[in-house]
Assembly symmetry: C2
Homo-oligomer: 340 residues x 2
Amino acid sequence: MSLKKTSIKYLANVLGVSVATVSKALNGYPDVKRSTRDKVIKLAKELQYFPNQQAVNFRKKSTKFIGLVLPQINHFYFSKIVESIIELASEDNISVIVKPTFENLEKEKMALLDLVKLNVDGILISLSDETRFPDHLIEISNLGIPIVEFDKISKLSPFDKVVTSDRDAAKKAVEHLITRGKKTIAHLRGPLLSQNSIDRFLGYKSAITDSGLTFEEELVIQVPPNNINESQRFFSRLFNKRKDIDGVFAITDISAIAAIRELKLQSIDVPDQVSVVGFSNWQISSLTTPRLTTIDQNAFEMAKASYKKLSDNIKTKNNITSREQETIFIKTDLIIRESS
Amino acid sequence: MSLKKTSIKYLANVLGVSVATVSKALNGYPDVKRSTRDKVIKLAKELQYFPNQQAVNFRKKSTKFIGLVLPQINHFYFSKIVESIIELASEDNISVIVKPTFENLEKEKMALLDLVKLNVDGILISLSDETRFPDHLIEISNLGIPIVEFDKISKLSPFDKVVTSDRDAAKKAVEHLITRGKKTIAHLRGPLLSQNSIDRFLGYKSAITDSGLTFEEELVIQVPPNNINESQRFFSRLFNKRKDIDGVFAITDISAIAAIRELKLQSIDVPDQVSVVGFSNWQISSLTTPRLTTIDQNAFEMAKASYKKLSDNIKTKNNITSREQETIFIKTDLIIRESS
DNA sequence: TAAATAAACTAAAACGATTTCGATAACAAA
DNA sequence: TTTGTTATCGAAATCGTTTTAGTTTATTTA
């Protein structure tokens, strides 16, 4: 059946006017008589006319689509960001095409290419772990498509960025442990080249040194941030070497939970003997026993700032050559719970 | 700057051939000489030509867009579904527009309207809690747009559906508790009108009666499935009335964790004194202590079956009047961990 | 060599809307 | 009545691509 969607042409035929008039009537142009406008609108309603958005966008050039490229969707933080951005965009009548990259550079490139083909008005991107150099982004930017990086960014790229103030947040977390009287604080850090990981490490380090404690290389180990079993294994090894550890600052909630699990296994009391602080404030962190002290990353604020920046850039057609790029920092909150 | 994207027309001008030839060359038509095809492709690459997908879709009618409407994205199960469907669709070069409804009927209607305007080729939808009657879906279906319902469906609607085999799964879970020797099994159920909630309850009931135990109304209470504190409060009230409870089957992992938390608080051993089984296999469930026994809903299989069904319906232009609708059941897995 | 066939190409319409610019009609002012 | 003004409408171009139907050129066959 497929009742062939009613078009403007069809409306025009039925009413015996031109397509131009119908279009104008529907879009509130002043040069159409009150009565004909009413007629058109009435019929449009009756026949359930919807403009073919594809055709409109095609004609108007602006597609009203933006792309959202990120490492994963099945992830507490990112899914919140996806949800928020879609919601914000829909208020502006903009649709968003979401592309997960699964931390894979090739997928990231493919995703961007797809978005270019779709003529998106702009792109929001959080880089994959594999992405070192932003060449592919620059190429696309040269096509005139505004790009804003968020969360996982590259310091090398000439775009506006929105990031969590990782360094401050980490410092805040570690200072919290210090005020709790902890003196031998371990840090479970993430990949060496990830900017978030670097900044959180730097925050840890400056909290330690600023407060007069001595920074020890040995207390910092690298863990896979989203793998609880591996994180536990690595922490176990560290803890067995350094039983004097009385505080842990972990790169993610998962790693923090891994540490707690190991400590429980060794019958060490959390928080009395060892305090633990995580990072992210995933849903999990409020469900564990003890509930986890952590840093809330404010996904919604991140989404809002990123969307707004992109939106502005689209409107003003700003591009990378015309001015300095800006980096916006999203403030975090230390959520103190039972693990510290 | 915005280097005006190169179009087919531009390529044609440069090469001194017609746009038709360029188009055919690019699309591998047979009636274009080998040498000219090579010329075209070479130049296209040089000038970074990308077809304007908007224009292509517009011309071809098929938009290569599908809509995905669901209650939330920031949710372990749904975010996995979103991710999977996007991934599956991208293999077919199809983009998906995701629309969260936040369990709100008005938002659901708006979302569907947006999708219609965009001329999507088809719609996948998981209903909001507020949705009782699928009138708005039928209206859209009458426009000739294929619709497939998944997960949260309405028994009243005449569409293909893909659902978790909730009843079987629940039965399996409760039978597991019974084989563990449990005799007084409580059920924390969800909303009275939610189909999932109903089916899980029915599964619980039939496991009880089929195994010769007596079904007691009193042991079934309603909880807010995603609110841990409220769930705990309700369970606490029940447990204080019925200290003989030795097993709990909860509608979600969150509610199950709530029960465990309350039991811990009362120094009841899990699983020895009371065993607990959840539902969903969220990431959380493997991170709690004790690790939670639960039902894995197989989000990926759900996504795959839903996408495939929609895809088939789009291809065959099947619609609701032409045949009987089908309901596909996604099998679940009982994940036995430490809480039972 | 002429006719028939095959190969390579192109003109033009079409998709559904917007928008410019000119045409017509209606009315007022002179 | 003529001119000027304003209100209302419509023809046609346009966006970038695909595709049909036809045209031209080259090649084969008789």
